[in-house]
């Protein structure tokens, strides 16, 4: 081998080594080291993967999913989980999901709306892998969807806000004008108005899911405009910090945000994915899994209210408990008529319930919301 050819050979080796190393990076396997002694053949490890849109340390959306993952590992020790953080929605996601399927994961949870098409595309190539897409609407033979009726928790938190406000102006820091966020604002406002018909909910769109400083600034703006309670549909506690600093109150979202703003946070509307992850993995293990479109509510515990702050009085707590019972009874739900829109026109007649399809395509505000839905 001539010198030139030999160096070319080494260069190729070096590049492939780097590629292999690069391939190893990017995902983390989180489980106890495998040892053949303590895992008998009958208790084969089940490999489960999670694709996250944000960092696990966002104290919001992704943290809530990662808490669910930790719960799963705790309840089912023979599960081995892999996570990939900060995966952009779109083409990159497809590459990451393919890699996870290729690595022998049996169940892959993709935890953001924008992973919908990538999940469907990859699933078609790996029919023996189960894919669960969070918050979307497309299914396939091996793709199910799952989401929670967080609007029920938001309604309950609205009761707390309605009882707490003195200025009758409640601020709501909202991310993007999509049906999911609009539904949350509407449910919250109905909760507020059920105990305080004079209170208004003022909305600001931030056009971001994740920017702590901008979200805090939006909160400050609402407080300056007279709000004394802030609610949020954002993935960081920015608005809660604004309330804390100005001695006002707040309603957190995603996870219990009281640690970040102990004097301000009345309660938080929270996600509790853990039990559902256990249920799904068990169903796959027992071969009872179907490609369902799961949309669970308070009754399944997948959404809930975080513990109340010390400033919430007993009267308010019992009003919340009462409303919760009403929802749990299944005879009544948040979007049961009569419901008026901002112009005062009746959109849902007395006694009528909005269907899931109607709720999933919400594009109007209920009466009591002070804000507009931008049309791009």
């Amino acid at each position: 081998m001539s010198w030139k050819r030999r160096s070319a050979f080494f260069a190729v080796m070096l590049v492939s080594l780097m590629l292999i190393l690069a391939g190893c990076g990017g995902s983390k396997t989180a489980s106890a080291p495998k040892s053949p002694a303590d895992s008998p053949a009958s208790e084969e490890k089940i490999k489960v993967a999670f694709v996250y849109v944000g960092p696990v340390g966002d104290a919001g959306w992704t943290t809530s999913h990662d808490n669910g993952r930790k719960y799963l590992v705790e309840k089912m020790p023979n599960v081995e989980t892999t996570i990939v953080e900060n995966v952009p929605e779109g083409a990159d996601a497809e590459r990451v999901i393919t890699q996870l399927a290729e690595k022998g994961n049996k169940i892959i949870f993709t935890t953001s709306y924008g992973y919908m098409d990538p999940t469907i595309n990859v699933a078609a190539k790996y029919p023996e892998v189960v894919f669960m897409h969070n918050s979307g609407f497309k299914t396939a033979k091996n793709v199910g969807t799952y989401f929670g009726r967080i609007y029920q928790a938001r309604y309950l938190s609205g009761i707390v806000a309605g009882k707490t406000t003195k200025s009758n102006t409640i601020g709501y820091v909202a991310a993007h004008p999509i049906p999911e966020v609009i539904r949350g604002i509407n449910a919250f406002t109905l909760g507020v108005q059920s105990v305080n018909p004079n209170a208004k909910v003022k909305v600001i769109w931030t056009n971001t899911w994740y920017d702590p400083a901008a979200e805090k600034e939006a909160g400050n703006t609402l407080l300056a405009a007279g709000a004394d309670v802030l609610a949020q549909h954002q993935d960081t506690p920015g608005p809660m910090q604004a309330a804390e600093q100005q001695g006002k109150f707040g309603i957190g979202y995603n996870t219990d945000m009281s640690k970040m703003a102990p004097k301000a946070v009345l309660t938080s509307a929270i996600w509790n994915w853990g039990p559902y992850y256990v249920k799904t993995v068990e169903a796959v293990k027992n071969k009872t899994w179907t490609n369902e479109q799961y949309w669970g509510g308070l009754s399944d515990g997948i959404v809930d209210l975080a513990p109340f702050g010390p400033m919430v009085d007993e009267g308010t707590k019992s009003l919340v408990a009462e409303a919760k019972q009403k929802i749990l009874s299944k005879k009544w739900d948040v979007f049961t008529g009569p419901i008026k829109d901002q112009t005062g026109a009746v959109k849902v007649a007395e006694g009528q319930k909005m269907t899931d399809a109607e709720m999933l395509s919400f594009n109007w505000f209920v009466a009591g919301v002070d804000g507009t839905i931008p049309k791009n």
Binding site: N207, Y210, D211, A218
Partner: protein, 310 residues
């Protein structure tokens, strides 16, 4: 709501929102004046933010947090200096890898610091009688101490650059390092010093977010402000006073959008988000047209310096 009632809080908010960008932009400005492009500002800010937060939690003192942020930012920039000055690596590539490195490193270091409050943060301190000046007082003199520090820094930097001999040497370093070399000054040492100082300022910019603006640590909490700082240096045409104005303009855009929504004026947030970059392009077009096609960037910006190639 009267005009003043709208304007005063808006401008005050613009200053707060602009301050982290201003620190980072001043850092980048010094770096680029020394002839080095450092695109790693976003990563340096993140490392500064997490280091400052960790130190403030450990010691209870935001000032020690600030010191830690400066050291961490300076350390990040030192890596860039070794790569680009001594090893003469491509500055763009080195800067971009610094962003990726800083994002990962800060996330790793901050794992156990997410969602905990900091014992003491920088809070607003009205500046005595200055705060009582009508109109100007509530806009400029009711902030935290770091904002006042940034005012002073802009003035010092302006005089340093345009009124002192070392400042002249700094400008020459970016225009024509060979001339500085001919003066008998150590080009390499000077470049190292200015790149590291630039990193320290970017670190302060990050710490402003984690210790003053939104006191907490959250992964990726800079949310693109490092990139805005880089665009801002070009917008400012490498002049610290213009950088200050630009920082408040860029920082104030979010606040303006929120306030317009509250008073019921609908304007697409996409257009607002576009504005900083649109302004930068407009300034460039304007400058290029006025200076007959010549941008006023430091002449030797981005070029590695090699004594033997003089």
């Amino acid at each position: 709501m009267s005009g003043l009632e709208f304007l005063i809080p808006l401008l005050a908010a613009a200053i707060t929102a602009g301050t982290p960008i201003l620190f980072a932009a001043l850092g980048e400005l010094i770096t680029e004046r020394a002839g080095i492009t450092n695109l790693g500002v976003e990563g340096i800010m993140l490392v500064g933010a997490v280091a400052g937060f960790m130190a403030a939690v450990a010691t209870g003192s935001p000032w020690l947090g600030l010191l830690a942020a400066m050291l961490a930012g300076g350390g990040m920039a030192f890596i860039h200096a070794i790569l680009t000055i001594t090893l003469r690596a491509n500055q763009v590539v080195s800067g971009l890898s610094l962003v990726i490195f800083g994002t990962g490193l800060s996330g790793y270091l901050g794992k156990n610091y997410v969602g905990i409050p900091v014992p003491q943060s920088f809070t607003p301190v009205p500046l005595g009688p200055l705060a009582d000046i009508p109109f100007l007082g509530p806009i400029f003199f009711k902030h935290d101490i770091l904002v006042y520090l940034s005012f002073v820094l802009v003035i010092i930097l302006f005089f340093y650059l345009y009124r002192t001999r070392p400042g002249l040497n700094l400008r020459a370093l970016g225009e024509n390092p060979a001339a500085v070399d001919a003066l008998g000054l150590n080009v390499f040492a000077l470049k190292y010093i200015y790149v590291v100082i630039g990193g320290m300022l970017s670190g302060i910019g990050g710490a402003y977010l984690s210790l003053a603006y939104a006191p907490s640590w959250l992964e990726n909490m800079t949310a693109g402000r490092g990139w805005i700082a880089v665009a801002l240096v070009i917008f400012a045409l490498w002049n610290p006073v213009r950088a200050m104005l630009g920082a408040y303009l860029f920082g104030g855009i979010d606040s303006l959008g929120f306030r317009l929504q509250v008073v019921g004026v609908g304007i697409s947030p996409f257009i607002l988000d576009m504005l900083p970059y649109l302004f930068t392009v407009l300034v460039l077009v304007f400058v290029v047209a006025r200076h007959k096609g010549r941008l006023t960037a430091p002449g030797a910006l981005g070029l590695p310096y090699d004594r033997e190639e003089r």
